[in-house]
Amino acid sequence: MSKNTIENIDDVVAVPLRHPWRWVSAFVMVALLGLFIYSLWASPNINHDIISKYLFNSKVMAAAALTVTLTVVSMFIGTVLAILLAIMRLSTNPVLRMVATGYVGFFRGTPLLLQIVFWGYLGIIYPTIDIGIPFTDMIWWSEKTALVFTSLVAGIIALSLNEAAYAAEIVRAGILSVDSGQAEASKSLGMSSGYTLRRIVLPQAMRVIIPPMGNEFISMLKNTSLLQVVAVMELYARTSQISSQNLAQVELLVVAGFWYLIMTTVLSFPQSYLEKKYGRGFTVATQKSRWLRVGMKGNV
């Protein structure tokens, strides 16, 4: 039986196009990577015993845990503030709009490192924190600033406030990406603007918000290393403290780098879950194939 009769014309049995250069380039890349790793391994200037001694050291791992905590807490506070700021910037109330615009301008306009140091120095500007009536002797509660704004609190505040400014623009872009017909339909059904935002607009905006927020999450994780300057014992501060004692700088950088890579990798997993969750109704059925999705969209 011949394969090429008219009856069998549906069965495409073509020889696939060959891609020899892909194989060549893949081989070159693997070889280069191997050479690089070997050069590090064989180098007499790197002490492997120190790396393996500190890789799973309890102090290092506690510092890594603190890094994750700082990231999650700051990201949470930052995102909540960001949603508020984005809503304020899109509000019809000119006061709210100007406050939010000023906030974003200020916190994006100054370096994060400067902000961290500023919050760390807060106790110098305001030695005590008082709650009472200004310009009178009425004070109900007073405390030394240094006891309230510990370096940890100062660090979290600095990271959160800075993050809020960036994330606010991401959230705003997400809200603006939702078709105005959605808000109109919600209005016509008697929904308030708050309800519309919460139930109709934000869930759709999430689709656009999540990928860049994933980026922000990773940035935040790495930016926690800046808290070294206010003596928060996160991963980078801890490893550089150790290396300042044993003078094994490169070895401890390898240790820190290893943990940062592990953490950024693990923390990127929730993103694909969230993307799937908020993609409901946009990506038809399962995520089998991108081309299938494009094809089905064309049918709408």
């Binding site: 016509s188 008697g190 308030s192 603007s193 109709i200 409901r280 038809v284």
Partner: protein
Amino acid sequence: MSKTLMVDARAVRKSFGSNEVLKGITLQVEQGQVLCLLGPSGSGKSTFLRCINHLETINGGRLYVDGELMGFREKSDAIYEMKPSAIAKQRSEIGMVFQRFNLFPHLTAIENVIEAPIGVKGIAKPEALAKAKELLASVGLSDKADHYPAQLSGGQQQRVAIARALAMEPKLMLFDEPTSALDPELVGDVLDVMRKLALSGMTMIVVTHEIGFAREVADRVVFMDDGIVVEDGTPSQVIDNPQNERTKAFINSVL
């Protein structure tokens, strides 16, 4: 007047910047009446429809729905802007169907239908679901309840949109060119649903280019051009025997 007025528009004017789109529309719609608004694009018919549920704020005249001034409070010769919550309450009693459906894409068909009854009216979920199933059945989409809008054809989406509006038990339904975005073979299903709704006694204002539907279903046809009402009468008067030159030209061009 024996019948109650559902819509009472008196010299309604609306401008966008310096462009006056409605130049004094006076129009009364009785309860239970089905009115089709015809007119060339840019004649102001969609804008007028959007003024009725206060999606657009009017610049002049008065617009009452079921005896209530829309979007404003009248008090001793002055009118005051209403609070958003009061406007929302007024809108919740008027259903609207859009040219581009505007279904909520992140919700399934049935979730689209129950969202406002639960969230706005505070109806219990089981009750809302039962009502929604009934409504989806009445528009012929019982088997599509759990589909997302993107999985439905345009005609099916528009019928879900009608069910969604009806779920709020409106006293008035506004249709803004409900079949203009549909493939020709899908128009019939949507018109069938609207025909059934008209027979059930719903007050309807329909902006449309479907002359056949207007002739068959409408109690009354109004022809608008350039922001004014040009001709107003029964379908046979306006469509089959137009008096005004502009109406004649328009009817000839679409028939």
